[in-house]
Subunit: 411 residues, 2 copies
């Protein structure tokens, strides 16, 4: 008799974004003439840049001819892309990576979800709170999170990030084996200075912990003192794996490409105390068994981002989104809202007025201004009393949403 | 202290194809002027067909304009592709599937590797032997395979498929919870009749087992009495998940697209005896957490296979490969080799002469004829004494290889 993995049954049935969609639909049915503006889901809206489009056409044409046709690619990704990553994303910051420390993937969600499986199921985990749900849910599935009680998982250390601590997570007073950090942060849009990040690296070295560092939004950093990579911190290569994505960097949410850095110095113990194992080798074994590389077209598309034209074009789109963020920040701040993030990240984290709870404010905004946000509590207990806005919309929608919120707020 | 998942450390260090590459390189170094022909690795060589290329260009152009740009797609895949799958791959065989029973993926390797994780780690498994290594290795990683002793895993039931039983796997005399079947078979190229497949479905129903059915090579079936899908067997929807791939169907090894069928009737028990869980729902939850859909370009490419032109063009390439198979079968049979498979599959499974072991014959063929095959023992204990040839090469290489083997054999 085949038995189900019972840990999957522990997961709450509903998804945050499905719940939102349901409520938005109910509103639309009762207000069929009203245009709803969504500043909710974190998906991009601007088309791919010309350099990327050109590279994709070229790669497609290569696949049409026998001489240039490509079948299975290397599981770690093509050399042309890994070389471009080293040269452009790391060398300029003084980080020297070997080709074999880079694993090209089909997007950061896969690897942030899958990487935990090469570690024992009974390590304990720590997350900043609020948090991107994939970190926790993927750990629930393997039985690592424990049981869900009173809105929290029993084996997860939640590290609150709220206005009270200026969104700086406090180092735990106990040992945490696996720590998820995401900076610039989704959902709060806040960042960590080098000094703060260094504390985490030192904590991990001291405790023999592993940091799973999600740098998916690093392209949005405008203050150049903020680290783009955890490997800017000395010693991080021994304790951290780092996830990158082209989804938000270059609008690749529909193209599917990203990469993960697993340094050769990164090791972990086996329970029986045998020699330490290389996570690079083990992750490679995992990928060679359960993954067959990313589309050649997508890898050529990613390579094009690093050309001079590609860099310029990608920056223009990022600047466009960040101008949205500026417009929203200014407008909401002028209206008296407390706004966080949105300076080095495409997310704005807004305190609900008068201590209203997240879902209630979500509904007020929907029915009062026909604007959709994401209730902060959907990202974890410390998200209660906040909502998230994304800067990925069209300029016109963004201005119109701010106008409506102003009218509604001042009414 | 973060601990490694110790099951990964149990995996043998070397890969079959890495070992082969090493030996081939050693030969090339000592014979620099000799052209080596590979009939070893199962990768396609012919370019993508025009209908697919056109669809990829069109999809790329859509991504260049704001009005037609697509960001995150549905995790289960776009409706246009799932509708084409239902209409073309299943309805003509009398199989009625619901849209939500289809999960588009980035290739069958991912899902054949990942699906096992939604089942308990202590289910036991059965595989036909020889076997595609991903089935076993992915189960080793979660701790399900036990320990490796004398060339076999302790918790795996190996079901021999050799010339002695005409490559028909015998139903086990004990209960196996999870059964992997791949037909047309990789590596032997043999097929199972409806009557034989029905025995497995009935066995699974009787034992409450789950069949993981890999149909990656179904497009190569020429004898229309052979089942293309396990769902042609009554009752299979209750006990089987089925994996499909465009890799071999349409040369998508570099494009990455396939799909998995998880019927709504497919359920499994929880250990505590609570109500049975729907594998469709649980797989959906897994995919929504650890996967973000397949490239839009790849999905449009797959859709194009189902157009009248696409169908015709794809069939031409399959016919080309199968003509290779015919040429190889005829030639090797005339030389006195015992050849299996190659009629409804792009693989030929050849008995080594005089009981020579697989690796020894591999080396004789390499040094005698400069032709690369795959040693059968690399696919499992029952592969000893066989080698595999693939039909995915160029016609010219295929003829030249047969000529060389003839000269060497008759010397």
């Amino acid at each position: 008799m085949a038995l189900i993995n019972e840990h999957f049954l522990k997961l709450p049935g509903n998804y945050l974004f499905a719940d939102i969609a349901k409520k938005v639909n109910a509103y639309k049915v009762s207000h069929p003439k009203q245009k709803v503006i969504s500043l909710g889901i974190g998906d991009v809206t601007q088309p791919l840049c010309p350099a990327v489009i050109e590279a994709m056409h070229k790669a497609t044409d290569e696949m049409a001819k026998k001489a240039s046709f490509r079948g299975y690619g290397p599981e770690r990704g093509y050399d042309f892309l890994r070389e471009a990553i080293i040269k452009n994303d790391f060398l300029p910051r003084g980080i020297h990576l070997d080709m074999n420390e880079i694993f090209v993937n089909d997007g950061a969600k896969s690897d942030t979800g899958n990487f935990q499986e090469i570690l024992r199921w009974d390590n304990n985990i720590g997350v900043t709170d609020p948090v991107y749900p994939v970190y926790i849910d993927s750990n629930v599935m393997i039985g690592r999170a424990g049981v869900f009680e009173n809105g929290a998982w029993s084996n997860v250390t939640y590290i609150p990030c709220t206005a009270d601590n200026n969104f700086i997570p406090q180092i735990p007073d106990h040992r945490v084996d696996m720590i998820y950090l995401c900076y610039p942060n989704n959902p709060t849009g806040t960042v960590l200075t080098k000094e703060e990040l260094r504390k985490w690296v030192n904590y991990a070295i001291h405790n023999d912990s592993i940091i799973l560092y999600d740098a998916a939004y690093q392209a949005y950093i405008r203050d150049e003192s903020i680290p783009h990579s955890i490997y800017e911190i000395r010693g991080a290569r021994k304790v951290a794996v780092e996830f990158h994505s082209y989804s938000k960097t270059a609008g690749f949410t529909g193209i599917r490409c990203g990469y993960t850095i697993v340094p050769k110095e990164l090791t972990a113990s086996a329970l029986d105390g045998t020699a330490r194992a290389s996570l690079n080798q083990i992750w490679d074994r995992r990928q060679c068994t359960k993954f067959n590389g990313t589309s050649y077209i997508s890898q050529r598309a990613a390579e094009a981002i690093y050309t001079p034209e590609g860099r310029k074009q990608v920056k223009e789109v990022i600047d466009y989104y960040m101008e949205n963020a500026d417009i929203m920040r200014d407008s909401l701040t002028r209206l008296g809202y407390k706004v966080f993030g949105g300076i080095n990240a495409p997310y704005l984290w807004v305190k609900t007025p008068d201590g209203i709870d997240s879902w209630k404010f979500f509904e007020q905004l929907l029915y009062g201004a026909s604007v959709v946000c994401t209730p902060g509590v959907g990202f974890g207990p410390s998200g209660e009393g906040y909502i998230r806005f994304t800067a990925f919309g069209d300029r016109e929608d963004c201005r119109e949403a701010m106008k409506r919120i102003a009218e509604w707020t001042l009414k």
